[in-house]
């Protein structure tokens, strides 16, 4: 269950997390609770698996290189192919989507050469061609996400 404090923490601290020696104390002062309450609530959110972590979001291609890749796989082989792809440490998202191109994954690497090697290796391991669609332009400024946390 999410308490009102959980909801404030989820919605109000996706960006501009305090960069001070005692960020949880700063948040506690803003919300009128104790530092211990704030830390406990974050630990609970982590245990309930509703947050990945408190951390940075780094824009694509500022450090290293990445691409969004897709592959069209027969339904019967999808699970096996997905597992081959997910096993690469360079793959950080891997989703089934409703389309002929039914598996979509993000590949990240330190440089272009390594990225190309991983894509070629995936083609060889799976036996299917990979469509690579690297980012050309990012139109989005703010990656935080306004959550509607009313119970429904």
């Amino acid at each position: 269950m999410l308490t009102p404090l959980h909801k404030r923490l989820l919605n109000d601290y996706q960006r501009d997390f305090p960069l001070s020696p005692t960020p949880y104390q700063d948040i506690a002062l803003e919300l009128g609770v104790s530092e211990e309450d704030v830390i406990d609530a974050f630990v609970e959110l982590d245990e309930q698996d509703v947050i990945t972590r408190i951390g940075p979001v780094i824009p694509p291609n500022r450090i290293g290189v990445s691409t969004l890749a897709a592959i069209a796989v027969p339904e019967t082989e999808l699970e096996a192919v997905a597992q081959i792809i997910s096993a690469y440490p360079e793959v950080n998202h891997n989703y089934e989507r409703e389309h002929r191109f039914n598996l979509w994954f993000v590949v990240i690497a330190a440089d272009a050469q390594h990225l190309a090697q991983v894509l070629a290796d995936i083609e060889q391991q799976t036996g299917y061609p990979v469509m690579s669609l690297p980012l050309m332009e990012d139109y989005f400024i703010d990656l935080s996400f306004k959550l509607d946390l009313h119970d429904d």
């Binding site: 989820l10 601290y13 960006r15 501009d16 997390f17 960069l19 005692t22 960020p23 949880y24 830390i39 698996d49 509703v50 947050i51 990945t52 972590r53 408190i54 951390g55 940075p56 979001v57 780094i58 824009p59 694509p60 291609n61 500022r62 450090i63 290293g64 990445s66 691409t67 969004l68 890749a69 997905a82 597992q83 792809i85 997910s86 440490p89 360079e90 793959v91 950080n92 998202h93 891997n94 989703y95 089934e96 989507r97 389309h99 191109f101 990240i108 330190a110 469509m131 669609l133 980012l135 050309m136 332009e137 990012d138 139109y139 989005f140 400024i141 990656l143 996400f145 306004k146 429904d152």
Partner: protein, 166 residues
């Protein structure tokens, strides 16, 4: 380019900020930096845009946002930037990127992501988007997600930096 210490700092903080009273001091101790150096470097990384945001990274699916659509359009090159900027201003849009077309099999060059609590709400939001941004006339596809096989967020290691979303 960022230096080695910044890379180590990013690798460390991407494991998650410790949930304890002096988290930046703890991070620093892992990599041999003082608390004030950690804070100064993170502030600079944010100012330089190498950190797009710093904060809570939520799991949408676990919070009831189970419908996730990747919407793609084929927009003429001379209009794609203008339309991409308009789309990215809509509150319910999470990501909006231009990507290369891939021949006749994939003629789409503009991508956006919409998360919603149901397919119906996502499709309603898409209808609003199309009206607001005048994209109705362009070819498009809506790809709802089914299974999630892997979602690690972006974890960086020294040899393997990562990104928000490809």
């Amino acid at each position: 380019m960022i230096d080695t210490l910044d890379q180590r700092l990013l690798s460390a903080i991407q494991q998650g900020l410790p949930m304890s009273p002096r988290p930046y001091a703890e991070l620093g101790a892992q990599i041999g930096l003082s608390e004030s150096e950690v804070l100064a470097r993170l502030t600079a990384l944010k100012q330089d845009g190498l950190i797009k945001r710093l904060g809570v990274i939520v799991k949408h699916r676990q919070l009831g946002y189970r419908a996730n659509a990747m919407v793609v359009w084929d927009i003429p090159d001379e209009q794609v930037q203008h339309i991409g900027q308009m789309i990215s201003r809509l509150e319910f849009v999470n990501l909006c990127y231009r990507r290369p077309r891939h021949g006749a099999t994939w003629p789409y060059n503009l991508f956006c992501m919409i998360h919603g609590k149901s397919k119906e709400t996502v499709l309603q939001q898409l209808a609003l988007l199309e009206q607001a941004c005048h994209t109705q006339a362009f070819p498009k596809q809506v790809l709802f997600s089914r299974r999630c096989f892997k979602q690690r967020g972006a974890i960086y290691t020294k040899s393997e930096p990562a990104t928000a979303h490809g």
